[in-house]
Subunit: 493 residues, 2 copies
C-alpha cells in the first residue's frame, strides 16, 4: 500500500458541478489504474485544501465512490482504492484505459555509441549477477551470517540519535572527511599504501572506482591491458568506455608484462590484481611489480590496482600493495568494503595521486555527487572503534577453517574429478577438471544439481573452454560445504 500526499487529477471545471468533476476525476484515475488498488487517498480535509474547495464537496465525491464500490474504508482509518472494482466498471475500464504506451522499437541512432556498448557488452555480464540465490560455492560473497549486524544497528542508531545535522545535507564528492582519514590510516598500516587522507576518495563500491577511472583516463579506442582471465565487472566497465581490451596472460608471478610489451600495443591503462590475481590467485612477484611501475612511468600509462580481498591471507605475511612501491604517481589504487563489511553497503575507496584528486572528485560529483553520509559515518565508527579490525581477524580464522574443510572434502569426494589445491589467501579456490573437460559444461551440470561453480573461462576474453572452476568458501558453513561437495561429486561423475 502506498500513501500519496496529493493527487493530480483531470478535474474538469466544465463539469456540471465541482462535486461531479472531482468524482469523475477520481473515478477515471481509479479505472485507468493511475490510482492502483490499495492506494490510500488523501483525507477529505487535505484534498479540499489542495483544490481549494469545500470539504463537503470532497465528502460527497468520496461517498459516491464509496457507494459505487470504487473505494473502501472507514472514518478515521483512511480511504483506499478498492481491491476489486465494481462489476459494471469492467467494460468501461476497457474503453477508457489509455492505449498502452507502445514505444517504437529502438531506432538505429536512438542510443549513443556507449549505450550500444552497454547493451552488447555490459548487459550480458549484468545478467550473470542478477537475481542470484546464494548457494554453495558462489564466490565473492563474505560470510554474511557472521557479520555483527546488531552492533552495526547500534552504531547506526547512535548516529541518528546524536542529531546528525551534518549528515543529512549535501556532502563532499570525495567523501566524508573522517572516513577518508580512517581509510588512509588503515591502508597505510595494513596495506603499506602510501597516502594522505586527501588522496582517498570514497566511492560507492569498487565498481564505481573502476568506472570513474575509465571515465577520467580512457578515451574510446584507447588500448587497455587487462589480465586474461580477468574480473568481468571490470571488463564491462572498460568495454563500455570504449577501451580496446588487450588480454595479457598471467602465470604464477602474475601479469606477463613482457608478452604485453611484445604485443606491440602499448596500453594507456593496465588493470591488475597484484595481491591475488583474480580469479587464478597468483601473487605478482616483486621484479614484475618494479618492471611494471617502470614501464608505466616511461610510457605515461596508468596502473589500476584492484586490491579486492587481500585482508584474507592465511599463511605467510600480508603483502604490501603495489601502490606503495610507486614513486611516480602512476597507480590508481582501488579498495572495497564489500568483502570485509557487507556488499549491500556499497562503499569502497580510491587512492589517487594528488594531481588526480580534483578530476576524480569532479567525476564523482557528476556521477552521483557522493555516498550516503550516514552510511559513511557509521563505517567510520566501525573502523575507528576497532570493530572492523576485530571482524576481519575473526573472518580470517573462520575462512581459513572453511577453506581447510573444503580442501579436505574435495580430496575425499572429488579425487580424480576435480583437483583443488589450498590457497594462501582469498575467499575462493580454483578446482581443476581433468584435461579436456570443459568448465562451462561442468558448471552447467553442477547447476542442475544446485551447486554454483563459476567456470574460469567465463573470465577469459576469448570464450574457449578452460578447465577450471571457482569454488567460493567464505559464505558457507561446514554442513553447506559438505553438502555442496557431495552434490558436485554426483554432478561431475
Amino acid at each position: 500500500m502506498t500513501v500519496v500526499p496529493f493527487l493530480t487529477l483531470k478535474f474538469e471545471s466544465g463539469s456540471q458541478s465541482l462535486y461531479r468533476g472531482l468524482y469523475e476525476g477520481l473515478r477515471e484515475a481509479i479505472l485507468t489504474g493511475r490510482l492502483a488498488a490499495g492506494v490510500q487517498l488523501p483525507s477529505t480535509r487535505s484534498l479540499a485544501a489542495q483544490f481549494n474547495i469545500s470539504r463537503s464537496t470532497v465528502v460527497n465525491a468520496y461517498e459516491q465512490l464509496y457507494a459505487e464500490g470504487y473505494i473502501t474504508g472507514k472514518t478515521g482509518a483512511g480511504t483506499f482504492v478498492a481491491a476489486t472494482l465494481p462489476e459494471d466498471s469492467l467494460e468501461t475500464r476497457q474503453q477508457i484505459l489509455p492505449k498502452p504506451k507502445e514505444p517504437a522499437a529502438l531506432r538505429e541512432n536512438d542510443l549513443a555509441e556507449r549505450g550500444k556498448r552497454l547493451l552488447t557488452k555490459t548487459a550480458p555480464v549484468m545478467r550473470l549477477y542478477q537475481n542470484k540465490i546464494l548457494s554453495a560455492f558462489q564466490h565473492g560473497v563474505p560470510a554474511l551470517d557472521e557479520f555483527p549486524f546488531e552492533l552495526w544497528a547500534k552504531l547506526t542508531a547512535r548516529r541518528w540519535r546524536n542529531q546528525p545535522r551534518e549528515l543529512v545535507g549535501y556532502g563532499d564528492p570525495a567523501g566524508y572527511r573522517p572516513l577518508r582519514e580512517a581509510i588512509s590510516a588503515y591502508l597505510k598500516a595494513a596495506r603499506a599504501v602510501n597516502c594522505q587522507p586527501e588522496q582517498v576518495i570514497v566511492v560507492a563500491g569498487a565498481q564505481q572506482a573502476l568506472d570513474l577511472a575509465a571515465r577520467v583516463l580512457l578515451n574510446a579506442g584507447d588500448a587497455m591491458w587487462i589480465e586474461d582471465p580477468c574480473y568481468n565487472g571490470a571488463r564491462a566497465a572498460f568495454a563500455a568506455a570504449g577501451a580496446k581490451l588487450v588480454g595479457v596472460p598471467v602465470d604464477t608471478e602474475g601479469l606477463k608484462l613482457n608478452e604485453a610489451i611484445k604485443g606491440g600495443e602499448p596500453g594507456k591503462c593496465v588493470y591488475i590484481t597484484p595481491s591475488r590475481q583474480f580469479p587464478l590467485g597468483a601473487t605478482m612477484s616483486l621484479p614484475r611489480r618494479l618492471a611494471l611501475l617502470e614501464w608505466a612511468n616511461q610510457a605515461g600509462a596508468w596502473i589500476i590496482e584492484d586490491d579486492y580481498d587481500s585482508e584474507y591471507r592465511y599463511a605467510g605475511r600480508p603483502l604490501a600493495a603495489l601502490q606503495g612501491l610507486d614513486k611516480n604517481g602512476r597507480v590508481i589504487y582501488v579498495g572495497t568494503f564489500s568483502k570485509t563489511v557487507f556488499p549491500g553497503l556499497r562503499l569502497g575507496c580510491l587512492v589517487v595521486p594528488p594531481s588526480l584528486v580534483e578530476v576524480f572528485s569532479a567525476a564523482r560529483f557528476i556521477s552521483d555527487w557522493h555516498s550516503s553520509l550516514v552510511d559513511q559515518a557509521v563505517l567510520t565508527d566501525f573502523i575507528v572503534e576497532g570493530h572492523f579490525a576485530r571482524h576481519v581477524r575473526r573472518m580470517r580464522s573462520l575462512y581459513k577453517e572453511r577453506q581447510e574443510i573444503l580442501v579436505a572434502e574435495t580430496k575425499r569426494k572429488l579425487a580424480g574429478l576435480l583437483d583443488v589445491a589450498p590457497a594462501e589467501a582469498g575467499m575462493h579456490l580454483v578446482g581443476w577438471l581433468p584435461e579436456g573437460i570443459c568448465d562451462q559444461a561442468a558448471a552447467k551440470r553442477a547447476a542442475a544439481h544446485g551447486v554454483e561453480v563459476t567456470p574460469v573461462s567465463s573470465y577469459r576474453l576469448s570464450k574457449i573452454c578452460d578447465n577450471g572452476l571457482l569454488l567460493g568458501f567464505a559464505a558457507f558453513d561446514e554442513t553447506q560445504i559438505k553438502d555442496g561437495v557431495r552434490r558436485l561429486a554426483v554432478a561431475l561423475n
Copy 2:
C-alpha cells in the same frame, strides 16, 4: 584513532634476530608515518599469529619500542603509536622518510578527453557546491530541522532488527523491487506519470539519473538543448559527456521551442524542467508540451524531464508531469527524494520507456551496481506507511508560510532594491534587482554580509550579468528569514 587488523611490515628475516627484525620493521613504520600517531597496534597474540612467531618475540619487540617511547599503552587497554616520538628520533626521521611522492604534473595526454572536460567544465561547478555552510538564502535545501529523524531512525532500526539478510548482499541494479513499486504507485497518483514498476530505476539522486541518461543517449559532439538559464549540475553532466550545449531561451510558458527549431541545430536530447522551470519558475504550457512531444517523436530526440520539486505547490492544482502526455516513449523522467526526504540519503528515480530499461540498468550496473539496500528498504517503509505523504503535506504548509514571510519582509525592507514576487510553487523565489545592477556583484556584496543569494546569471550559458537573485526560503525559519532580509538590505543599499 584507527585500529588495524594486521600490519604489513618490512620484516627482514636477515636481521640478527626475529625480535630485532620485528622491532625494526615497526619502528620504521612509525618513523615514516605509515603507522600514524594514535593508531592502535594489533595485540601481541594476534601479531604473533600473523607472522607465525612466538608471542614472547612480539612482547619483547613491543617492550623495546615502549621503552624507547615509540608506543604507549597499558596491559589490557591496547598498544598505541605514541603521539610524540622520542627526541632522538627526529633526526633519523628526516633521513628515513621516503621522498614524498611527487607525481609529475599531468602530461598532455594523461587524461582522456572526458577527464579534461571534467577539469574544465565540471570542477568549477563542483566548487560552487563544496564545503557550504547553510545560511539564508541558500536554495535547493529542504527544512532539515523539520524532518522526522527519530521516526527515520526507528524505521532503520526495525529493518536491522528483522534479520535483513536480503538487504546485505548484492542487489538488482534497477533497484529494490518494493521501492520500485512504491515509487510507481506514488508517481502515478501524484504526478500522473504513466509507468509500471518495471520502468522505475532507483538511482543515487537526480544527478545520477542525468549522468546515466547522458551516458546512454549522448555521443560526444551531439547537440543537446537545454533551457537557458538551466541547473548547472545538469549542464556539468552533459558537458562532461561531450554534448554540444545549445541554450534555448525560456519565457512564462517555458522552453521556447520555436526558437530552438529555428536555431537549425536539432537536439539529440532536450533537458527541461516543465513543472517549474529552474531557476525562473515558469510552468510549461500545455500547447508547448504537446508541441515538444510531437517534435521529439518526429526528430527521434529524447526529452529528459527533471521534476525536481513539484511536490511543493501552494496554489492551484498539482500539475501533471510531461511524461504522462507522451504517447511515443520519448520521455526520460527524473525524480528526486533530496527535496522531499533529505539530500544526504542520495536516492532518486528514473522512469524510462520499457525499451530502455535494460540499457539503463546496465549503465547503473557498471556505474556502481546499485544503491544501499537498507536505505532503499527504509525509504520504502517511509512511503508505504504514509510518513512520506504526511511529511510532504506538512512541509508544504510550512514552506507556504515561509514564503509569505519572505515576501512580506522583502516588501518592507527591500522596496526599490529587490523586487520579489510570490510564486505558486517551489522552494525559492527570484528577486529582481533594478535594471543595470549586476547580480554577480550584488551576490558578492550579500556574501560579505553573510547572506547567500545565487545570481541567475550563474545558471546561464553565457556569463553576462543578469539582474536576478535566487532566494531559498524552505530551510529557514522566521527569525532567519528576517535576519537575512535585514542583512541583504544593508548589502544592497
